[in-house]
């Protein structure tokens, strides 16, 4: 089997090839390493590579498989992880100079689970520094290009992971999503990207940006692979107090996300997966502020949902317009505290010239943090500071409760809601970097799901005038991750787009 034939495959395809002994984990790994070596210099998806570790793991799994062991969920599947997730024997920089040489002695839970599932981790991907950004332009190290068109940003903050999957460098990748940082790059790169219900995936080992909003989730080129990757990494972890217990999942996640469930919805037709589903289209997110060339494919997709038997009706999220303010107050407040540990004392960069402790703090953090991070830290500090707490932070958390209540009201009569993932398709480098608010606006459609802790998935549904992909977003009830994936599968089947697959083949 030629190496290039192994690129751009789905997990199911790779597993058939492995089972049929037409390829091996090692061969798959080498093929993807070669693709990376050929193309990553241009694309800039990765910050570091873990090729030897991947080769060793591949050889290990090949041996176990040859002994007749059952094929684990992600065996032989090359993956990449965003560089804000801790992995051993490699650096975790968070796209920041302040962690330039930090080597974590522990693995993130999600990373452990990938290893257990047989996945082959090829490297750490680029991101906006500390996950703060919407274009990956704020990485302290490099820029990542959109694999569809290199003049465009891949989105952010998980731009590197999106680019790696979009370019065929890996099959799936992990990102983190605080305000849309998985879904928005997925939509910009023509991929499937999902943020699970808050608490489904342990945050242990994910360097915190905003604790009550962050979740780890998968990128993939199709819904099935996205679902399988989520299945591999979800689970109770007692090291994370915000991670849902097994008994809670058993009680509330109905249907449960299992391999059987995924195989079942994969085998069904679009109509079978969508019939009877009540889907609300959020009017506040399909009006002003959304580009016309985004509205069009969304509305078309909505019509398609109806054709497949879903009931699509307009719904209202009355407090939607406040989501941006709420997010930029809550997330930055939490971040300002979460980033206080980067002080040069126990790890990371330290300015060695400072003769006094606090002077050292100032110099270290000055040198270590980029402008966007500083901006957000100051914003968050301001929101929490004496005299401003009630008007800003507390107020924001109250409006957050109202937004969440808006969703629950909708969910009384609908199983999920639909909207564009982002107000526009990918933009060109530099187009939004001068105006922070312009940049923040990229998240208006994705933020509400984070505020309410709801699962959200983005899949490609068409092209904008620029020929860059447009993503459609489904957001479901808490714990409805499996149903959401099922509906997404239905829509994917109905849309039958092959944007990315074609792009990879043409490379």
């Amino acid at each position: 089997m030629s190496k290039s034939q192994l690129i751009g495959r789905t997990i199911a395809e790779l597993h058939s090839l492995i089972k049929a002994k037409e390829t091996s984990c090692l061969e798959i790994t080498e093929a993807h390493i070669e693709a990376i070596e050929k193309g990553d210099e241009r694309l800039g998806a990765f910050l570091s590579y873990t090729f030897d570790q991947a080769r060793a793991a591949a050889a290990h799994w090949d041996e176990r498989l040859s002994n007749g062991e059952a094929v684990p969920l992600l065996a032989g599947v090359p993956v990449a992880i965003k560089d804000n997730m801790c992995e051993v024997d490699t650096r975790t920089t968070c796209g920041s100079k302040i962690l330039e040489n930090f080597v974590s002695p522990y693995r993130a839970y999600a990373v452990e689970k990938l290893h257990e599932a047989g996945a082959l981790i090829l490297g750490k991907t680029n991101l906006d520094e500390f996950a703060m950004g919407s274009s990956t332009e704020h990485s302290a190290y490099k820029v990542t290009r959109n694999p569809i068109d290199p003049d465009y940003v891949p989105g952010g903050s998980s731009g590197g992971s999106a680019a790696a999957v979009g370019a065929g460098f890996c099959v799936t990748a992990l990102g983190s999503d605080t305000g849309g940082s998985i879904r928005q790059p997925a939509s910009y790169c023509g991929l499937v990207g999902m943020k699970p219900t808050y608490g489904m995936v342990s945050r242990f080992g994910l360097v915190a940006f905003a604790s009550s909003l962050d979740q780890i989730g998968p990128f993939a080129r199709n819904v099935e692979d996205c679902a399988l990757t989520l299945l591999a990494i979800a689970g109770h972890d007692k090291r994370d107090s915000t991670c849902l217990s097994q008994s809670y999942r058993d009680q509330h996640a109905k249907p449960a996300l299992t391999k059987a469930f995924i195989q079942e919805f994969k085998s069904r037709s679009a109509e079978e997966n969508l019939k009877g589903k009540r889907i609300g289209i959020i009017k506040e997110l399909i009006g002003d502020g959304i580009d016309d060339d985004v509205k069009a494919p969304i509305l078309k997709a909505a019509a398609l949902l109806e054709k497949c038997g879903a009931r699509v009706e307009e719904v209202s999220l009355p407090h939607a317009k406040y989501a941006l303010s709420v997010y930029y107050l809550v997330a930055t407040a939490e971040a300002s505290a979460n980033l206080a540990r980067f002080d040069g004392v126990r790890y990371g960069h330290r300015n060695m010239d400072a003769a006094e402790l606090h002077a050292m703090y100032y110099a270290t953090r000055n040198e270590g943090f980029g402008a966007e991070v500083k901006r957000r830290i100051m914003l968050g500090t301001y929101a929490l500071s004496s005299g401003y707490y009630d008007a800003y932070y507390k107020k924001a958390q109250q409006v957050r409760a109202l937004i969440t209540a808006d969703f629950h009201k909708i969910f009384e009569n609908f199983e999920m809601v639909v909207s564009p993932t982002a107000p526009s398709a990918a933009f060109k480098f530099g187009a939004k970097s001068d105006d922070p608010i312009q940049m923040y606006m990229s998240d208006i459609a994705s933020i509400p799901a984070n505020l309410a802790g709801l699962p959200g998935i983005s899949l490609p549904c068409g092209l904008a005038d620029s020929n860059m992909p447009v993503g459609i977003q489904l957001v479901g009830r808490p714990m409805s991750d499996a149903s959401l994936l099922q509906a997404a599968q239905g829509l994917e089947t109905a849309l039958d787009l092959k944007l990315v697959a074609e792009k990879i083949k043409s490379n």
Binding site: P105, Y106, F204, S241, R346, Y389
Partner: protein
């Protein structure tokens, strides 16, 4: 203008759990620096706190023992500031919704009110190199063994009125914490730390004066001295018509006075906000009841019982309940049917004196409750005199042993036979004719002399009652007039 002192005390009690409050590192004494740490208590990237159930239980336990209300719901908050011993750049504490509210401690028959108690994590330890203290040091070193140790911060109302009362409050609080076994209560070792808030106001005024915070008091005596010193300092200023500056002052034991902390940074803006990494606590009344059932009898309850049921005086009851061990020993002795008043006297008198002199803790002595019961029995049955018994007690405390065996081996048995005593008495009388004559002429005090000589000759083992009875018989009548 007569001024009165208003004192409030903040105590940080380190809880005796096996593991730290937010991670599973051990709390036991660490032999070397940074030996009992993990990514969580080092504040490394991506780690998260997980709350120790036992710490919550100890919080409930303490609240009950202090007559506080246990909150139905409470939560944790982040207290944000930068310092080398604070790994995350924030401390996880409880600000808005603490675990315990209100409560009181009885001091001198008065209920001193408690404001609240809350759970929080401790910071690491700083060692300043190149100098005796923070100032003028060349650099500092940080040990995170103590980072995330569980603390219960107990804050009193500004309800104490004198340095002495403050000291009594602290001793009783420490006593209670030791009774319920949540804290070692060791001020010198740092498991029990205290800060004081001191202000003055004209007698009768309801409004509080400006307060200062006093830190760095490392013994109960220091607390008393420091508060006294601060009261004097403030009094002098007020009398001169000067204002009191609200500040933090450090007690200097060697100098016997307080100094303002070098930099009173503009009052910290801690920017408290709810801890998003920890879920709230809802403490069911059922859990509270379970904890309440497991509480031992508290010092105040024991003191009450000793007075009402056993007829001991309040002073005696207070001494007996000063430490849990002494009190438990007392209880165990009574369980072996030793008489309460007798045991009380032995413990309060000679035993306590011995402890003071030998500088030992009660648990370091070898005396057992069985010893105590046996000893009381030996005295009441006349087997040994009380003088001998006292020596026996001291021997038992020092070296232990069995009462009966010691009496035997050391030949301590009391002589109660009239025969031998009569013989000795006769000898004494025979060799003291002038004293006898003086006695007969009216110097009745000399009876003590004969008594003493007889007892001496019998090496203290004579039964005093028998000596007296024989003296009554053998001494000449005293001349009238």
């Amino acid at each position: 203008m007569a001024l009165e002192a208003v004192i409030g005390l903040e105590v940080h009690a380190q809880l005796k759990t096996n593991t730290k409050i937010f991670c599973s590192c051990p709390t036991a004494f660490a032999a070397s620096e940074n030996e009992q740490v993990c990514p969580v208590c080092l504040g490394m990237p991506g780690v998260l706190p997980v709350l120790n159930k036992k710490a919550v239980e100890f919080g409930i336990r303490t609240g009950l023992a202090l007559n506080s209300k246990i909150a139905e719901t409470c939560r944790f908050d982040r207290k944000n500031y930068f310092y080398a011993d604070l790994p995350k750049g924030y401390q996880i504490s409880q600000y808005e919704k603490p675990i315990c509210l209100g409560g009181y401690i009885e001091v001198n028959g008065r209920k001193v009110q408690i404001h609240r108690a809350h759970l929080e994590e401790d910071a690491g330890k700083l060692v300043h190199a190149g100098a005796a203290g923070l100032h003028c040091s060349d650099y500092s070193k940080v040990d995170f063994n103590r980072s995330s140790m569980p603390l219960l911060e107990i804050v009193s109302e500004p309800d104490l009125t004198s340095p002495e009362e403050a000291r009594l409050y602290l001793t009783e609080l420490r006593n209670i914490l030791r009774y319920i076994e949540v804290c070692d209560g060791n001020l010198e070792e740092g498991s029990f730390r205290c800060d004081a808030n001191v202000s003055l106001r004209p007698v009768g005024q309801k409004e509080l004066g400006t307060k200062t915070e006093i830190k760095n008091m490392n013994s109960f005596r220091a607390v008393q001295r420091a508060i006294q010193s601060e009261i004097e300092r403030q009094t002098a200023l007020i009398e001169k018509g000067e204002r009191i500056v609200q500040e933090t002052r450090l007690w200097n034991e060697a100098e016997g006075k307080t100094h303002p902390m070098r930099s009173k940074e503009e009052a910290h803006d801690y920017r408290y906000f709810p801890e998003p990494d920890l879920m709230p606590l809802t403490i069911s009344r059922q859990w509270v009841e379970e904890v309440r059932k497991s509480l031992p009898e508290l010092p105040a309850q024991r003191r009450q019982r000793y007075q009402s049921d056993l007829g001991l005086s309040s002073e005696d009851a207070a001494v007996l309940t000063e430490t849990k061990e002494l009190s438990d020993f007392f209880e165990s002795s009574l369980a072996l049917e030793a008489p309460a008043k007798a045991v009380a006297n032995w413990l309060i008198g000679p035993a306590t004196a011995y402890l003071k002199e030998s500088k030992k803790e009660f648990c370091q002595t070898a005396l057992t409750p069985q010893n105590m019961a046996d000893l009381c029995q030996a005295v009441s049955s006349g087997k040994v005199s009380s003088t001998i018994a006292k020596q026996l007690l001291l021997d038992l405390m020092a070296e232990g042993g069995d009462v009966a065996k010691l009496i035997e081996s050391k030949g301590l048995a009391q002589v109660s036979d009239e025969g031998p005593i009569k013989a000795i008495l006769q000898e004494v009388l025979d060799k003291s004719p002038s004293q006898l004559a003086d006695y007969a002429s009216g110097k009745v005090k000399l009876r003590q002399y004969f008594f003493g000589e007889a007892m001496k000759a019998l090496k203290g083992k004579a039964n005093p009652q028998v000596i007296n009875k024989l003296l009554d018989e053998m001494l000449p009548p005293v001349a009238a007039g």
